[in-house]
Point group: C2
Chain length 221, copies 2
């Protein structure tokens, strides 16, 4: 059985869940309170982070390494283009969201508002929240610029880059931190990806202490 050790509002875990679902790989989800790491969890991943995927008798970690592994072992439906140039663009954008967007937006909003409360780490830092709310505008505008030139973020087909971006945005959307009125084109892109069957499990997530806003699981948001 494939098993994913995860945390519901982790964008890195959501990215892996989306890829597994798109590839129709059944997975058992095991919630991991990674901020209280047990010896057993650290044995699975000495980095002390989620996601960790148990698959094919292996214990894999690092969301990008996991997604590339799944793509190589279950090639269809393809989430990476065939040519090196387009693959570089997909990976550049995965890095954009998992690194730049993550530190500038996700960490400032989701981690401050949600993770801190769950981990009993104190109140959100107002300065960080303000920075995140400011930074997301730049990122939404950059996405709009890309989508003005392409059907999907990295080109004319849906790729891992779209799932990576959607994983981050869905976490922010859970706490109503995405202004969907900022760009029609980004909203349309999110509506398309959100309506995929692969998204269902994510739209059903419930995080104790944080109630889903009504638009979150609504496909006509």
């Amino acid at each position: 059985m494939t098993r994913l050790y995860h945390f519901a509002l982790s964008p890195f875990c959501r990215k892996v869940r989306l890829v597994l679902a798109e590839k129709k790989i059944d997975v058992e989800l095991v919630e991991e309170r990674y901020w209280e790491p047990s010896t057993e969890f650290l044995r699975r991943n000495p980095a002390g982070k989620v996601p960790v995927l148990k698959i094919d008798g292996l214990m894999l970690s690092d969301s990008q390494a996991i997604c590339e592994y799944v793509e190589e072992t279950v090639p269809e439906p393809a989430l990476m283009p065939k040519d090196a140039k387009s693959r570089a663009e997909v990976r550049r954008l995965c890095g954009w969201f998992d690194d730049k967007f993550h530190s500038e937006v996700t960490a400032n909003l989701v981690y401050e508002r949600v993770n801190k409360k769950i981990m009993r780490g104190g109140y959100p830092d107002g300065k960080a929240v303000k920075t995140g709310a400011q930074q997301i505008k730049f990122h939404l505008d950059y996405m709009a610029w890309l989508l003005d030139h392409r059907r999907w973020l990295a080109g004319d087909r849906m790729t891992l880059a779209d799932f990576t971006a959607a994983a981050h945005l869905s976490c922010l959307d859970y706490i109503s931190d995405v202004d969907w009125n900022r760009s029609e084109i980004v909203k349309d892109w999110y509506a398309k990806i959100k309506s995929r069957p692969a998204f269902r499990s994510i739209l059903a997530d419930q995080v104790p202490g944080f109630i889903q806003p009504p638009h979150y699981a609504n496909l006509d948001f």
Copy 2:
């Protein structure tokens, strides 16, 4: 002509330089003061980061995306194994160093001591430096544990994981922040990788205001 926009003490740029040199791809190095980004630089990479590689008529960014591109287009000498399982291990360790090691060690030591001074960003934060000095011990011990089980970090052959780790450690070594006495096995690994022709350009780096320590370029350090 292949051209790399870089900064000498950026571990991400060094990783790309090592890979290009190992693949015997001639490259023109152009120093980029990325913290004072020009419009032209932001056009090359809207993320405002180095490295940016101009190659095959393309403008590539994100060090991992660049290295995977180079591996796919110039396969020999191979820096990635052939099987998916081993590739996942290489990518996990690239992520380990570029994400975990970077935020826990490189950012706390190199960025505090060097980048802040160059960017006129004030004095090093003593608490950050102390944290970095503490954290590097854990990472050196983890490397020692890996190298006790394997010839190279990700397995029995040298891979991108070794170059990624060496890129970070070489930046720290430039400011004498690696205690090579902590582990004989890690020191031996670094001596092996440091003696490769690919490392020569990095050992010749000179950062104004920061003089190379005598052991830095010495192969018998």
